[in-house]
Symmetry: C2
């Protein structure tokens, strides 16, 4: 059997964290709150097309040759300056690596750090794509809960004392995927102190940091790094366009060298043509002004989602009120399995979808929550979809409730 020749990480009997997340629904009235895609009506297509032409006209054939394995130096310099301005991170182009989306950045860090069985701490719930990337290197997970101001540092420290071998903490500090929670500045500083004390690496994944509806971005965890222990990851997928496949990371010395070693072996380099086009776009366009346009849209969509949840969901449901990003997180009574509910009831009858919360837990052991994404839908559609979803959730909650 060819199956017996596969690596443990590719075992087909273990579903990937990323597979089956999005159900296909052929019904024309179907509304999906599942995929976390940016709103494509906001993409600056004409400006990016001009940027491709500018880059090609400027560099000609050489643009299409093998390039720098860390990525276009001019674009790296611009990204270094950007995280300096908006995240208080003092860095330079030499410490930036361009990756195939933020996903590859996470995977490269996991690849550079993890032997099978190595211990990793993650927020629970946490980003499903990070779990998929970490899963490739077969870690032992320790989940640490979230509070309204981010990861529970007391639980983290208890966990570190009990498991001093933990070598990596993965965190999404800004408008967390899936909960929308943002880590306080105080906790960012304390987290770095813990990393120094307990000798672990922090993987700071921050693709949504620019998309705060009401505030300017907070200082990155990386800005408090004193020992080169923090790898900062972000992406242009959410604030520019995903199909440019351009994520980036900031790392120092030992970690940077290790990441570049595994990067070269993985794909040599990312797509130089799109890097040059992005660099040209950033030279003649104001990305911050574009981000302001995005925030104005997503703020309205988020408000519509929160209002609809208040209107149509039963009192037994709790939900977050995000201050940025794409997601709302809903928690239902403990006895409701949102995966089974979606599959058996909501998808076939109401034609609405979401991502069941189970996917965001490394041990897939919590079943009563769900993630809703509002980024791609109009307020009217959001209201209609949450109405349909709320009716189903109400019925499930009342059915599940014991009659007194």
């Amino acid at each position: 059997m060819l199956k017996d020749l596969l690596a443990t990480r590719a075992n087909p009997d273990v579903p990937s964290a990323l597979s089956g997340l999005f159900t296909q629904d052929a019904d024309p009235s179907a509304i999906s709150f599942a995929a976390g895609s940016p709103n494509e009506s906001l993409f600056p297509v004409a400006a990016v097309q001009r940027a491709f032409n500018t880059a090609i006209a400027k560099q000609g054939a050489h643009l299409f040759q093998y390039q720098n394995p860390q990525g276009n130096p001019a674009l790296r310099a611009k990204l270094a300056a950007r995280i300096g301005k908006w995240g208080q991170v003092t860095t330079t182009a030499e410490h930036v690596v361009l990756t195939v989306g933020g996903q590859q950045a996470i995977e490269l860090v996991a690849k550079a750090l993890l032997n099978p069985g190595d211990e990793v701490a993650v927020e629970v719930p946490t980003y499903v794509g990070a779990l998929a990337a970490l899963d490739l290197y077969q870690p032992t997970y320790y989940g640490v809960g979230l509070q309204s101001d981010g990861i529970d540092l007391d639980v983290l420290e208890t966990t570190l004392k009990r498991h001093p071998g933990i070598k990596l903490l993965y965190t999404v500090p800004d408008f967390h995927n899936p909960t929308g929670i943002t880590m306080s500045v105080a906790k960012r500083e304390q987290l770095v102190a813990l990393a120094n004390r307990y000798d672990f690496i922090i993987l700071e994944d921050s693709p949504y940091r620019d998309l705060g509806y009401e505030q300017t971005p907070l200082p990155a965890i990386k800005s408090f790094d004193t020992e080169g222990r923090v790898v900062f990851v972000s992406s242009l997928s959410k604030i520019l366009m995903p199909a440019l496949r351009t994520g980036w990371l900031v790392a120092d010395d030992t970690l940077l060298a290790a990441i570049m070693k595994v990067r070269l072996a993985s794909d040599l380099e990312a797509t130089g043509v799109t890097h040059a086009a992005i660099d040209a776009y950033l030279t003649t366009n104001d990305l911050d002004a574009h981000v302001d346009v995005l925030k104005d849209h997503y703020r309205v969509q988020c408000a519509a989602m929160v209002a609809a949840l208040g209107k149509y969901f039963p009192d037994e449901a709790t939900f977050t009120t995000p201050a940025g990003g794409f997601f709302d997180w809903v928690t239902l009574p403990k006895d409701i399995d949102t995966g089974a509910l979606l599959r058996e009831q909501i998808s076939p009858t109401a034609h609405v979808s979401y991502v069941p919360g189970t996917n965001f837990y490394p041990n897939r052991d919590v079943h009563n929550s769900l993630r809703l994404c509002f980024s791609g839908l109009t307020p009217t559609v959001i209201d209609a979809g949450i109405h349909r979803l709320g009716d189903q959730v109400k019925a499930a909650v009342h059915e599940a409730k014991p009659v007194v």
Copy 2:
């Protein structure tokens, strides 16, 4: 020490197979036969620029959204048809995966198959980038020598009998990197029979198959596959442009599913914008006609290299006469270490460079060969460079020779 937190695969004390391959030489007269880059003067820049504009005009914003994790379906269909026409492989778009260069395709196969210590057979010498990708998953290597018609199947079978756990064979059947050797059709068929008998997977890496100077491409090993055991890998880097970062693979059923599972977790998908541009390019341009232009150039460069080697190298050196591809392989007397010679003598005094052969052996245990790439240089420069190199090699051979 942060170094202690790294994975074994990222150990900084073990040099990467891909690091330090290309020496930097600031001398204005320096000639490099090292990097295996295609000749950028042959890139169809204007046609590809038009293709980007066509793709963007046609699809607009949607082109820049998250796309299909396997890659653009129209481009996959064209590549499936191409390998059908030129490699006798019967396949469809559903079995093609677009990757970030051929390098990522190799890495994904290694990732899908290898647990630490798993046994892998490779040709010796073999492509250094494949060794780097395989190294990430810490295999045990068995080297199998090459004959003028490809891998030595008798040695391979003896090795398989002795090590029945071998689960993967990596081979470059067409204009092999680094030796330029091509595997005969008979051996391709026999290799598949061996894979069926001894239960292993064949990773067929064929980026140079289109670049045969005198002949049309041979049937791919994959064309003889009866059990879905062969993964075929190729790339547009050598026949179109490297910075488009578009490689591709063909796999079936079990292996395809395993590869897609690790692919999603690695980077979600490759660069959709460039896929669409390549598809548009292939729709309005004749890639075969472009490949004919490339072959006319590389044929002349290769002939210049072979002639110069005959003229300037000592009789003690043997070299291959490639019928396609980018590389010539030179073997010197056993007591000459081409790495030390390059570092200490040739690079500082003659300002000529090559890749020392040691890099192409998984155990880095053979030191008297070197790889020369002729793709980027004019015949005049090739003659001048090989002249300088030959003088150095002659001196080294005569110095090394015991006085009788």
